[in-house]
Amino acid sequence: VRISTRLRIITGVTIGALAILIPVLVWSFVEFKNAKDDDALADALHDNYFERASFRDQYFLYREDRLREQWIKSRTETDRLLTQAKRQFQRKQDQALLERFRTSVEDTAQLFDRIVANTQVMRTAGANKGVYEEFDRRLYSQLLLIAIDVRMAITTLQSSTEGRVQKHYQQLAIITALFAFTLALAVILIAQQMDRLIRRRLLPLHSGVESIAQGDLGHRIETNGSDEFSELALSINSMTGKLEELTQTLEQKVVERTEALEKSEARFRHFFEKNKSVMLLIEPTSGAIIEANQAAATYYGYEQQRLVGMNISNINTLPPEDVALERQRALHDERNYFNFRHRLNSGEIRDVEVYSTSFDASGKTLLFSIIHDVTKRKLAEEALQHSKTMMERTESMARLASFEWDVDANTVTWSPEMFRILGRDPTLGAPNLEGQSQFYTAASTHLLFDAVERAVADGTPYEFELMTVQPDGEQRPCYVKGFPERNTSGRVVRLAGLVQDITDRKHAEAQTMRQARRGEALLRLPRLSEEMDEHDFMQRSLTLAEDITGSQVSFMHFVNDDEDTIELVAWSQRTTAEYCHATFDRHYPVSSAGNWADAVRQRAPVLCNDYASYPGKMGLPDGHAQLLRFVSVPVIENGKVVMLTGVGNSAAAYDEFDLESVKLISNEIWHIVQRRRDQRGLEQQKALLETRVTQRTEALAIATDRAEAANRAKSQFLANMSHELRTPMNAILGMTSLALRRTTDPQLVDKLTKIDNASHLLLSVINDILDISKIEAGRLTLERVSFKFGSVLESVMNMVGQRVAEKGLKLFIDLPPEIARLSLLGDPLRLEQVLLNLTGNAVKFTAQGVVTVRVMKLEESHGDVLLRCEVQDSGIGITPEEQRRLFIAFEQADGSMTRKYGGTGLGLVISRRLAELMGGDIGLISTAGQGSTFWLIVRFSKAGKDAVAPAANSAAGSAEMQLKTRHAGTRILLAEDEPINQEVSRGLLEDVGLIVELAEDGGVAVAMAQRSHYDLILMDMQMPQMNGVEATRVIRALPGYAQTPILAMTANAFEEDRKLCIDAGMDDHIGKPVAPEVLYATLVKWLNRTRD
């Protein structure tokens, strides 16, 4: 059997066994590994749970929060392990156990949570703490029960996984052993075969081959048997035979080849030596010149023997290492053609072309080089290149290009600069004439083509400026000149010319123009400021700024000191006329200003050429011009932004020059405006100062007086005002009254009645104004006399009764008798005033319906009583807004009210003040259109039983009769300085039969009283020589005048005046204007008393 067959059998059996064993081994290992992992996880779950149980039990024991937190951490770990286990465990029963473990653990966790929660409750529980403690034990014992489930589940799981580990371990061990056994068996079998068969049969082969290797080609190895070794021996013997034959053939060939080579070398030597071209043979590694022909010796100027033996680096001007590199290239045929510079023996350097290639000479590889001198050609080429470069440089510097058009061929040639000027890719070449239309604007193309056509037709040269269009759309101006060239027959065959980019020139021209205009504008500004007022000046200045920057809109703001608000001071005329129709606040905060105010916010100029994509765009108000671009510049003075100037919407993009221009102009405007203002301010300041010095001097002189008099003057003014108003009123009313008494003519009575009414109205207005003045001056005080509430209300009803009747209204009085009978201490007149005001208003504002007056008692104590009076009407009502203003001075519900209904609108203000002084308040409930209810709350002290009602004017009618009947002929001294009032008083007194003697002054009155006796004296207070008060004092001291009634009859109607009179010894006070009824009642009162 062949060896290979035996080995194949052994290997096949082994591989078969292993092929079965390896998957089993792998499977077994995987199972074992899985079981091991599961077991480790089960252990981890076990450990984790018991660690957690330990925290739980410690918590139950010590209730430390720290333990709870550790428990929570441990629980998170449980969750993690469970998730992992759920994924990892493959077996159904393990999953079931895991689920049991999980639910039980979850139950313990929930119970633990409840223990924790209950612990919190226990800590704060009061009386029923025992219950919570009981519950605590309950939960824990329940928890312990479930803990048993947990333990069982995890223990079972662990034993399950452990069992699996054991099982798979055993499997793995058995299979591994089998594997190892199989391998070992195979190795032993193979080794035995190798040793027995191979080693023994190899020895004769070895010795035979060694003999052949030593050159014994005749040696043959012994062969026996038919295995691979016998075959090998036969093959070696056959090979040795073949080797013998080959050796003989080779030797023959070597002899032939040597002869051929010798011939070839002789031929080459002849060719080399006699050649007219310079030739060298060079050793490629060292560069040594091995051979040089006669031509080389002549060319380089060396003896031929000398040249051979030199190194090529002695001739080549390149550094030796570069020459070596080039030699290597030639050697490997990477490159065969070279341009070098060679040094001749004379020292001259020549340009040479070298053709170099490898050359095999007598088994050595050499470089064969042929050298041509190209110095002259090189010089010519360099000169050409130089002039071309010069030309291009010149064109480039001048931005000047040239072109040539071959008319017949319609081909165009451009100089390189031409491509640059038109911004075209030179690699694409120059297009023909038609193709050039895209390089110029339509107008320029037209112009150009026309000119070219003409030039070709009749040879007219052309010259003009055109506008090119660059690939990016930019337009640039250029200057073009064309020269037609004719052939000998006179036909134009060629058009040559030049094109020059004149953008910079144009730009420079424009810039110069702009600078000139700016300079001129800046020079004009001061003169403009002298010719016009500030606003016009600024507007004109803005127009200049627009002109210089090519803008369409412009504006100017002053920035207030706070740098937070700005004030629009000027728009250019064009802006307002053509572009902006928005309505603007002239003042607004920077925060709400548009983007142009960014210059204020950033304290730096803003240049925006594309408003549409401006970052932080804020939008524009309606009517504002569409903003395309703008420049906005702040003027900064002493570190503060003081002014903001902006221009916008120029046709071309703004540049730094525009920004600079706006900056210069706005700075100039600011300085001019400031200078103007300073100048004007200075003049005003000077005048003001002078006036102020004078005024201050005067003021100082009277300051002291004024200070002293101020207080006095205020009171005095009020009193005087009152006096001065009442005096003529007295005359008017008095005269009217007298006239009425004396006439029976119905027409006259009517007219007089109207005068009387109007006068009374006027009087009430005066009274209101005086009252409010007193209130404002804080001088309003109340009387404290006893009165009956019923009498006051009765009086009020009498006064409004007539109006009510006239308007056809109904008046309801709801006054409980016990309130009507109440004797109170207070100011009945002021109470009456308030009630009259409320009732009067109700009547006034009610067109039809009912006015109800209701009085009720809110509180009553031993000493005082709190009353509420309500006046309800069905009138026009009052809106809430009007209600608010109703009690504020000078704010009657509506200005129109005063016009429609009359009155000062002060009544309620006075009433409220009076109510407050009476310890109460006033207010209303009202709905517009549905009537109002005004209420008054007042507190009065209760008076004793002997309270006397004041002399009521209700008895006026009878007073006149009494005077006529009982006191006619009584002598009255009337002290009165004012002639009309003298007449009025005298008239009234004489009407009732009294005898009146007149004293025009206090002094006169005293003298008259001294001379004769009077039953009663009516005393004016203000008289020229001696006033009433002083006169009274003197008269009282006169014999027989101690008891004589002296009654003040005066326009000094204030309470303090009254007090002054009483203090001076007067008995009573009758205020002017004198109501006849009051005068008569008072006279009756005092005359009766005297008589009694």
Partner: protein
């Protein structure tokens, strides 16, 4: 492994042993007459394994002639054993606990059911009860000496209340529905099926309070200590039949429900509704002992017994028989 790789079978087969041996019981028993035993159990779902074992003839298979003695609830079934009217009874742990306190000579041979949601408080919303705290001052029905009693107390405690805070009304389980509908009580502490029946009867008016964490009810098989001592083989057969019932129930829940419906005359849908509340496994573990002691402490503390010392409940649990029948079902220490 064996299927795919014959070589391994060849090698491993030499290492593997054969432990199969024929059952010894079957052959022997067929020659003996059936033993007669009386089994007191209830219509409650907790007694399912008893019903299944009876209906499916598992007792018969084990050579037991079981005579059923039906009782309303476990306490009464236990009473039958105490009165020697029955040999075995199904009963919750609470009556067993009280028996222990009284010194009754009984013993638990297996736990056949456990549930955390079988006990609950059903209350009437119209009595103003919507949350556990509302039970305060209300009339609450319960069955004394049963799980109902213990659960009520646990539930009150869990909500910060005591027995003094309510008006307890002692009721038998079958009186509860009537008491609730007649509004004699505002709530009852009870178990299934009354629990579900009452809740269904009240409809929207009902509110049911569960607390599955505070109490685990168990149902057990109890017998006289003497009986267990003198007839160990009977006990084992009895337990084997119950284990078969457990396996049947686990594999055929629907059929088990049908059997229960027929055996207890209770609507199958109701049985199905409450089915998942119960865990039917024949086991014995430390939990029973702990529960008995726990409840005993409660009974002593609340003076529900005149005893003041904890009885030794290990004497009330007999685990040898179950361990012999099914070793893995026993995890309690002797």
């Amino acid at each position: 492994m064996g299927k795919a790789l014959p070589l391994c079978i060849f090698i491993l087969a030499t290492l593997a042993g054969c432990d199969k041996s024929p059952s010894q019981n079957t052959g022997q028993r067929s020659t003996e007459p059936d033993q007669q035993v009386t089994f007191a159990y209830t219509y409650q779902p907790q007694s399912t394994l008893a019903h299944i074992a009876t209906t499916k003839g598992y007792f018969k298979e084990e050579g037991l002639d079981v005579k059923p003695l039906m009782r309303a609830f476990g306490k009464e079934a236990l009473q039958a054993v105490l009165e020697q009217k029955a040999d075995f009874a199904t009963v919750a742990e609470t009556p067993v606990m009280f028996s222990g306190l009284k010194g009754d000579k009984i013993v638990v041979i297996a736990n056949i059911e456990a549930s955390t949601t079988n006990n609950a408080i059903v209350a009437r919303k119209t009595s103003g009860i919507t949350a556990p705290g509302d039970l305060k001052g209300k009339r609450v029905g319960f069955t004394a000496g049963t799980t109902s009693d213990f659960f009520l107390d646990s539930f009150l405690t869990a909500n910060g209340l005591t027995r003094q805070d309510i008006q307890p009304v002692a009721l038998k389980p079958d009186e509860m529905k009537e008491a609730m509908t007649a509004k004699n009580v505002d709530a009852v502490s009870t178990w299934n099926y009354p629990l579900t029946l009452i809740a269904q009867k009240l409809g929207n008016e009902a509110v049911v309070f569960y607390d599955r964490q505070i109490y685990t009810e168990t149902f057990n098989v109890a017998a006289q200590q003497d009986f267990v001592r003198t007839k160990p083989e009977t006990v084992k057969r009895f337990l084997r039949a119950l284990v078969k019932a457990e396996e049947f129930v686990a594999k055929n829940p629907d059929e088990a429900q049908t059997i229960m419906a027929a055996a207890t005359k209770i609507d199958k849908s109701l049985i199905r509704d409450v089915w998942n509340a119960f865990n039917y496994r024949v086991v014995l573990d430390q939990k029973l002992l702990l529960t008995l002691e726990d409840e005993a402490r409660w009974a002593i503390k609340n003076k529900l017994t005149d005893k003041t010392a904890m009885p030794d409940y290990t004497g009330y649990i007999h685990s040898d028989s179950l361990r012999a029948v099914r070793p893995e079902a026993v995890s309690t220490n002797r």
